[in-house]
Structure formats: structure tokens, C-alpha cells
Symmetry: C2
Subunit: 237 residues, 2 copies
């Protein structure tokens, strides 16, 4: 059994044997990526017997000396090697029976990362990117958590410059539109999309063009510096 799984299971078993008044708190990260025109989520094979064969989100218990955001960044860094990623708290799930090893309340975060980033380094054989649309069943209540986070993401993309976190630094408007279409699971009109994005004034024209294409290349853009924020505006919904 790989080292960090052993650690996690041990910690949870310890908790399930502590006195009745104990409640553990964890964070779970819904790590979204984007590839091949599909929205992906990073999952790991569940290490619990009850869920054998099922995948689960990446999470861990919160340590006494770290706040929730730090715990989420730690999970992200430990699993992906990436820092400075976009992360936002979504909801806390506290159902009594949600964890088979004992009472565990979990706070869900969603995160957006560039799946092609050089720093990305999946440190575990059982970590895989799954197409969000193909996911049927997950361990624990993680399908509900995923759905809740996906809904939140969809509610944000038109008002906040977050989709860019899924893309490389330079991108064309086509790539951007396809990312929006993957997230929203819908087709968008090209002209209207471009107008809508132009009005928001999020983009910097790089005066560069795409290369190595078998068709007319598009202009390349980057997100303006002032919008490249790791954390969202103060906790709101």
C-alpha cells in the first residue's frame, strides 16, 4: 500500500476509536483540468475496502496547526506538485454516515489547474484525470461534492475570470471558447462569445499568432495581470 494512503487510513482509524465525542475534519479538493475539449477532474482509487473499485476526490484530514485553505493547498501540492493554483471553498458536508470509518466532516474546495503545466507531477499511480461527463459513481458522497462544485464553477465563469486557470498562459479565443463550452456543456455562438469577453476587458492582446496549425492561425491573448489572482475575492458565494 502506498505511503500516503497508509497514513490517511491510519489517521482515520485512530479517530474512529477515539471517544464518541470526536469529530474529524477534512478537506476534499475537486481539481478540475481541461484537455481535449473536455472538463476533467483528478481522482484517486479509493483506499477503503468499502469503496473498492471506486474513485474518490483528493482530500486529507486538517491538521491542528493549519487552516482549511492551507490544508487544501497542501493536498494540492502533495498530489500535483503545483503551487499558486486557484482554489475556492464551496460547501461543507457533514452528514453523519458519510464516512465509513467514523464521523468526518469535510469542506469541499474546487481548484482549476493547467493540465499541461510543467510543474504538474502526479505523484501516484492511482491518480487519473476523468472526464466529468463520464463519472457515474464515486466513493463516499463525492459525486454530490463534485456536482456541487461543478455547479458553483458554472455559476462563476461568466462573472469572474477563472476559466483562464485551466489554460496555458497564451491562448486563442477559440481555445477559450472551447473551455467555456466544456464547462457549461453547451455550444456558444462565436461572435457573441467574443463580444461578451471583449466587454469584460480581461484580456491582453499579445500581438502574437498561433503557429503550427493547418488552418488560419488566431491571435494569442493572455489574461491581464490584475486578474491573475490565486484566491478569489473575500469569501462570498
Amino acid at each position: 500500500m502506498p505511503k500516503e494512503q497508509a497514513l490517511k487510513t491510519a489517521a482515520l482509524e485512530k479517530i474512529s476509536h477515539l471517544d464518541y465525542f470526536n469529530i474529524a475534519i477534512s478537506v476534499d479538493c475537486v481539481i478540475f483540468g481541461y484537455d481535449n475539449k473536455e472538463l476533467k477532474v483528478l481522482l484517486i482509487k479509493s483506499d477503503l475496502e468499502e469503496f473498492s473499485g471506486l474513485y474518490s476526490l483528493l482530500g486529507d484530514l486538517v491538521r491542528p496547526d493549519e487552516d482549511l485553505e492551507s490544508a487544501s493547498y497542501r493536498v494540492l501540492f502533495d498530489r500535483t506538485g503545483m503551487e499558486d493554483v486557484y482554489l475556492e471553498q464551496v460547501h461543507t458536508f457533514g452528514g453523519i454516515g458519510r464516512h465509513p470509518s467514523g464521523r468526518v466532516i469535510t469542506t469541499a474546495y474546487y481548484s482549476l489547474i493547467d493540465i499541461t503545466h510543467h510543474d504538474l507531477n502526479l505523484n501516484h499511480n492511482d491518480l487519473h484525470w476523468h472526464s466529468v461527463n463520464d463519472i457515474r459513481k464515486l466513493a463516499f458522497d463525492h459525486k454530490l461534492i463534485l456536482n456541487t462544485c461543478l455547479q458553483r464553477l458554472r455559476n462563476q465563469v461568466m462573472d469572474h475570470p477563472v476559466v483562464f486557470n485551466l489554460l496555458q498562459d497564451k491562448f486563442s479565443l477559440r481555445e477559450l471558447q472551447e473551455a467555456y463550452e466544456a464547462i457549461l456543456d453547451t455550444k456558444l455562438d462565436r461572435r457573441n462569445f467574443r463580444k461578451k469577453i471583449a466587454v469584460k476587458d480581461w484580456l491582453q492582446d499579445l500581438n502574437e499568432m498561433e503557429t503550427n496549425l493547418s488552418h488560419r492561425p488566431g491571435k494569442l491573448y493572455a489574461l491581464k495581470k490584475q486578474y491573475r489572482s490565486v484566491s478569489p475575492k473575500t469569501a462570498v458565494g
Copy 2:
């Protein structure tokens, strides 16, 4: 010292002496009311020495056999005597130093109640309704929690039929508009407001009129039955 305060303090002190790995989880309820054209929030004098003289939100530790919503409903019922109130989770606050007695992570809920309801029975001398606009400083990080919940409430009122939870069953459009104005802290145009509400089709015309007024009485309305929901749509933001 009143009984339930003693209980809460005792529980927290116990936790602060348990081993380092312990984290307690609580819920805090931002209970909004509406009176005299002002948005109010129910607060209690803090029972902690560190915060003497300050008010705090109503909260309690989560018990091992109840989920987060149940804990919030319990706090609400114990403090106000009211059941079936509107309640919605907003955010979880987990900063390391946020509670002087030890590590306490708290999930914030906001709630809307009819301040004139017969069942309302504030069971404690130190419980008071405070105008949201007048609140400067609260115990713990409760000012931040209040602001976060207020922001969430403001984001919801135009899209979801929640304001009605602050009003009596029968209300005039003027009363409704004044409640919106109190929440949004802004003046609204009467004709435009009525059009906007009419389009949503939330209201049932009761064919009754206001009485005992020194001016022309308005029609009375009620929220249509299908919108009288205690819990919001499944956890989203």
C-alpha cells in the same frame, strides 16, 4: 451564569485541554429578522472573558450524532423556539486563531425569521435584535461571518423567494418592497419593483386589503404554496 452558556463554555474548555490533535466543529447562525424597516440580526452577549462587552452570533458545538443542518436547527430552536425556519449554509471558517479556547472550525448558516411570529420566544436575557447597519465589532470573527452571510443574502433575494421568510404570512407590496430595501440597503422604484415581482409569479393575491391604516390600504398577498420551502435547493452557492 445562565445554564446554556455554562454548558457551552464547559464543552469548549474540555476541548482545549484534550490532546493537540483535537479540532472542534461548531455551527454559527446568522439569524436575520426584519422590523421597523430595518434588517436585524439576533445576537447574544459573549460569555467569554476575552470578548467581554461584545456580542456574538448564536452557535454551538456540533454533536457526534447530528449533522450540520440539525445542529443549526437545534441552535435556532433552542434560542428562538421556532421550527421550520429558512436556513442555508454559507461558508466554513477555519482560521487557526479564531477561537481563544482552542481550535474550533465553524460552519456559518444564515436564517430568516418572522420577528413577530407567535412562536418566537427569546429564551435568554442577553439575546437581542441588533440593526445590521449599526454593528461595528463582534466577538470572534463573527463580524466577518455576518458580512459574508449578508452578502450571500443580498445575492439571493432577487433570484430566490427568500425575503418572505422575514414577513408575516400576509403582506402588502409596500411591506415587501421595504424589506428588500432594508436588505439591499438601497431605495427601489415602486413601479419597477412591482413589475419585477409580478414577473416572478411568486405571489398569490389574497383579495384582502390592509386595515387600520391612516391612508389608502393596499392589497394583501401571500407567497404561493409551492415556494414555501424550508430548505433551499440542493447545496449550491
